[in-house]
Symmetry: C2
Subunit: 317 residues, 2 copies
């Protein structure tokens, strides 16, 4: 039976269209072809083609991970607001940074070793801490685009960060819904969710400090969430062991997606607490194997032909 | 300056990233190749391959427009609700229909003559009226997917309709925001919006009864909205002259998009009032020339590199 499902806490609905459903192997597509191009701005030797470096992590005297401002930022350097009836706009004050994850042009995040991924997570933490120091910054979003279908233009593996004055809508809604749940139930919804999901068909993996599961109302086929077992409000507050545990589970999840689905395009992003607020930190992994069409744009609902119970089974196998 | 813009009435923000901006011709892409395939289910002669016809409009004794149930519906025939803590789901009760717009396999909607498009609009009206008769139906969404990037799997020009028990989120938010505006200002926001936009740089075209403009905070490059000048709450309440005027402006808008952007993929959908509620009917046209990536999914904000003022100029020229 095709069913409408509501997100755990948000007023966000999806249609799980089981009857239109494909089997996991039917989602398989040819791997996106790598472009042949003369110059990769992110490769060693071309550091002069990027804006000046902000931060780096080295290994054997060479950079392993680099961070610099995006050459074509989506943000602005001014702080201005204009408001007239029906037309509200403000300068998009903030910062837009790029984190190159590896010097190797052809390596995917999931193929790096755990120690390397742990260092990428260290870089994410450092950038969160640094950007939050600006009192005009209200929120820092870290996100990754992998593959053309996931919106990337440069194939060398990288992550981006956009820091803005205000808390973006999707995070605002999540924080507010979480607050309402805490008020009604006395505890964090995500603490309740992961404990419930680790006993459900939607369980993917867990290790000592972290869990991965397919959410009950996913907007994407094979969508998966990772979160710490401990109630931690942002990435930088994970302790060293938890951080390594996070690197392990992220590697396992992406490796499994790559090997079973032939390196599909995907996005992931971190949802952390805004300053002085309380949200259980988590990562949402969104493979991009189908497209949103007129129904999704016009209704705000998403049709997903892959039930999360089946997706989780596929990840576990 | 890159700027954050708010939708006229919704709490929906976009970043107009002018500084990343491309000129209109840089959005030009190769036209999607037509697939060679043995059998088109929507072509004359293959009517037996579709579910039984619900309605048709004829010309010279042959069908010009056909409507039948979707062979792989996203909806369900049962009415059931299940609710446990954190897990809310219900059967996706409703109807999912297909409207084949023309017997000709290779013709685009924008290339049909105005009289033909007016008949397609007649069919939309009839299906709205018919589906609203079911007391269990709360909303009827009519939408079109054109091109693979816009999520269509069958290239023969068609529109779809999904009728559901409840009003979908995107429509609910628009109706509620419209109500709030009416309460505060005494009149319909869309009546105010079109009058303002017909005097702004975002004006595209108008004819006797209808207007087309690029919205102030568009989520898509070259996004355009069409609405009647008169405050009409749903398509079927347009009078005959308004309906023909709607066909004219829709043809002009899509023809212009096709000719200047080389037949790009697009979606459109109708936003009509839910039963017993009041929303100024309009159509939203969303060309799909760029992709939403991790930032869009994680933040709920959209980065759009095409300012609507420039898009409108391009449509007018």
């Amino acid at each position: 039976m095709n069913e409408l499902r509501k997100d755990y806490i948000l007023d966000r609905w999806v249609i799980i269209a089981r009857e239109r459903g494909k089997r996991p192997h039917e989602f398989l597509k040819e791997r996106e072809k790598r472009e042949k191009r003369g110059l990769c701005f992110f490769c060693p030797g071309n550091e002069h083609t990027t804006p000046p470096e902000i931060s780096r992590i080295e290994e054997d005297g060479k950079w392993l991970i680099r961070c610099f401002p995006n050459k074509f930022p989506a943000t602005a350097t001014e702080v201005k607001t204009f408001e007239e009836n029906l037309l509200v706009r403000m300068s998009a004050y903030g910062r837009h940074e790029v984190i190159v994850e590896t010097p190797e042009h052809d390596t995917c995040l999931g193929d790096l070793n755990v120690e390397h991924i742990a260092k990428i997570i260290d870089m994410y933490s450092e950038r969160l801490i640094e950007n939050k120091k600006d009192p005009r910054i209200g929120y820092v979003l870290i996100f990754k685009n992998k593959g053309k279908e996931a919106g990337t233009s440069l194939e060398h593996s990288h992550t981006q960060l956009i820091a803005l004055r205000t808390v973006p809508t999707a995070v605002r809604e999540e924080v507010d819904a979480s607050k309402r749940y805490i008020k009604e139930n006395g505890n964090c919804p995500f603490c309740d969710i992961w404990k419930m999901e680790m006993k459900s068909e939607r369980r993917i993996f867990e290790n000592k400090y972290m869990v991965a599961f397919a959410p009950f109302a996913p907007r994407f086929s094979f969508e998966a969430w990772i979160m710490p077992k401990r109630h931690v409000t942002s990435l930088e507050f994970l302790n060293e062991k938890e951080r390594f545990s996070f690197a392990e589970i992220l590697k396992k999840l992406i490796s499994k997606l790559n090997s079973s689905m032939n390196y599909p395009p995907y996005n992931f992003y971190l949802h952390v607490s805004p300053k002085k607020e309380d949200l259980h930190f988590h990562l949402e992994l969104c493979p991009r194997m189908s497209k949103w069409a007129g129904f999704e744009l016009g209704s705000g609902l998403v049709i997903n032909t892959m039930p999360p119970e089946l997706a989780a089974k596929h990840y576990r196998e």
